[in-house]
Symmetry: C2
Subunit: 339 residues, 2 copies
DNA sequence: TTGAAAGCGGTACCAG
DNA sequence: CTGGTACCGCTTTCAA
């Protein structure tokens, strides 16, 4: 590969001049510029990001750091949407995107290394599952004062941003919609393994129930884990144990995945959705619309969360004043046939 | 951040010695090594990947280059699984993983740049949708002789590898299973927009039909695109137009997504699956098991494809002899309730 | 076994 | 407006 000196020689100018052309720096003779451009094209010259990073002490790369206990967790469409959002921003600003996926509990330093080795300038962070309770890694990151944007989790720090979805409001609106439709016994379905954003969803549900004076009819169905099977098992157990009079007529599920499990369990008992049991999910993952009946759900703006997080970090790196360190993106109730 | 000189000074040795310790190079006095290690730990020293890449002329990074016409195409679980596979290998070998996502038709140079700027040493490439027909970008990559591993597409070149799934065999086995179950009128559902791996699936279907002497009963249902809606529309049209006697009793769909659309369309017409119409998909995406009835389908080994592709490239970079430039991974018929 | 010095490919400073 | 030169942090000769 040609380097900057080759270009300078071919164009009959100094290295510095070539560098100026590359970086769009001011005034030089148009014809000089022309000659340089031509030389670059002829030699198929591309400046080395490595050398540039070396000198500038910045890699022009953003990291996406995520931990998910599931070894194939990356297949969750949520991550794909976040990545697509990140990618749209990094590409527009000529940054590259480095992904760092830890399928197990993150250990100390795991998320620090990419910064320390100067692989990335800043990172979007998502810690899922039970690990979300384990805040040590996050604290470490925050204290290291590398720029980070954390998804679905509150952080406080000089160089830390939070990008959140309106989980509380979404769950509250979904529950309210069920109440408005005449339901009184509404259950909330989650998992025994909970995490911060889920707590907010539950709070939103509880608030709507309380406001409607339905507090005493609150029912919780807690499955063993965040799989469809887990959701199905919880519903199955609940429906077989309770007396008819206390059975819920509607369920707000804390995620679409467990809602799908619930849907199958409800149908397996010969109940119709939504006539015998209304069901609302959360996330609006791609296949929510393709289950039978199509799932009413609360849309989580995953793509936008990725986009926003990347923008916050890029602005930070450019020294722009941060108007907000904490961004909350709206959720939206998507009405389909299951409620 | 501390640099190698700081460490050398703190340990009272030369820079060279520190470098030797980092790179596990032979014999030095154990106590020297000990001192160096301690200094590294105390200073939280991590060697800069940038500087190392500069000197070694290699970034120790693998790229995942993909184009998908859908702006949120990355949300497709296929990519997530591939990424998880890639990630498992890169992490094990201390490589980093750079993702380069082009939501539009790749233009000349788009996939060359990350190599030329020395961001990555090698790349896994996937070109989807109609773009898959547009081989210009791929040819360009192959001729550039940067190491690449292309998924689901045949390439030939000194530094190019192909990682393929047994699409033909999978579709053939699925069709054969339907024939064995007594079906005679079996349709193949795909899209007017086809691409290489889909052609193989269709060929597999045709072969099974021909072998069973059922060639004359072959029916093709071609939807407008690769969405569930597209699949549903094709089935809807076919079922409403044909006479009962020529209607298929089973459908082999070219992907799970369109199979899901087909499933909804079939049920919407009041037909039961599998009694009135058997249905087999292709891919085994995560939610194939959660549709109603659970979808019989052919599993595409996406995770393994990612893993294998990364391994091929890493071996290539280490100068290991390539035992094979073309890897075909097995598919597997997953029997559920829809057939 | 350890140390000094050159150089990877850019950018930034300083003169001209 | 352009040219020379130091330097980013590491690896790699070459000497001691």
């Amino acid at each position: 590969m040609a380097n900057i000196r080759d270009v300078a020689e071919a164009a009959g100018v100094s290295v510095q001049t070539v560098s100026n052309v590359i970086n769009g720096r001011p005034f030089m003779r148009p014809e000089t510029m022309q000659r340089v451009r031509q030389a670059m094209a002829e030699l198929h010259y591309q400046p080395s990001r490595v050398a540039r990073g070396m000198r500038r002490q910045s890699s022009q790369a953003l990291g996406f750091l995520l931990s998910d206990p599931n070894p194939r967790g990356l297949a969750d469409p949520f991550y794909g949407e976040v990545l697509a959002g990140l990618s749209s921003v990094t590409r527009a600003h000529n940054y590259s995107l480095v992904i760092n996926y830890l399928p197990s509990l993150p250990r100390s330093g795991d998320f620090l290394t990419p910064f320390e080795t100067r692989q990335i300038d800043a990172a979007v962070v998502f810690i899922s599952g039970i690990a979300a309770r384990q805040t040590a890694v996050l604290r470490e990151l925050v204290r290291s004062s590398h720029p980070i944007a954390v998804l679905e989790r509150e952080v406080k720090g000089e160089h830390a941003y939070s990008v959140l979805a309106a989980n509380y409001e979404g769950a509250r609106a979904a529950t309210q919609a069920l109440i408005d439709a005449g339901h009184r016994r509404i259950a909330f379905l989650d998992s025994v393994q909970r995490w911060p954003s889920i707590d907010l969803r539950r709070n939103g549900y509880e608030a709507a129930m309380r406001d409607a004076g339905l507090g005493k009819h609150i029912a919780f169905l807690s499955g063993p884990d965040w799989t469809a099977e887990g959701g199905g098992a919880a519903v199955e157990r609940a429906l077989s144990q309770r007396a008819v009079k206390t059975k819920p007529t509607a369920i707000v599920a804390a995620s679409d995945v467990i809602a799908v499990g619930a849907l199958l369990a409800i149908k397996a008992r010969g109940l119709r959705v939504p006539d015998d049991m209304a069901l609302v999910g959360f996330d609006d993952f791609e296949f929510a619309r393709y289950v039978d009946p199509p799932l009413t759900t609360v849309r989580l703006p995953a793509f936008e969360m990725g986009r926003r997080a990347a923008e916050l970090l890029l602005n930070h790196l450019r020294g722009m004043p941060a108007d907000e360190r904490r961004v909350v993106l709206p959720t939206q109730l998507i009405r389909r046939k299951s409620s």
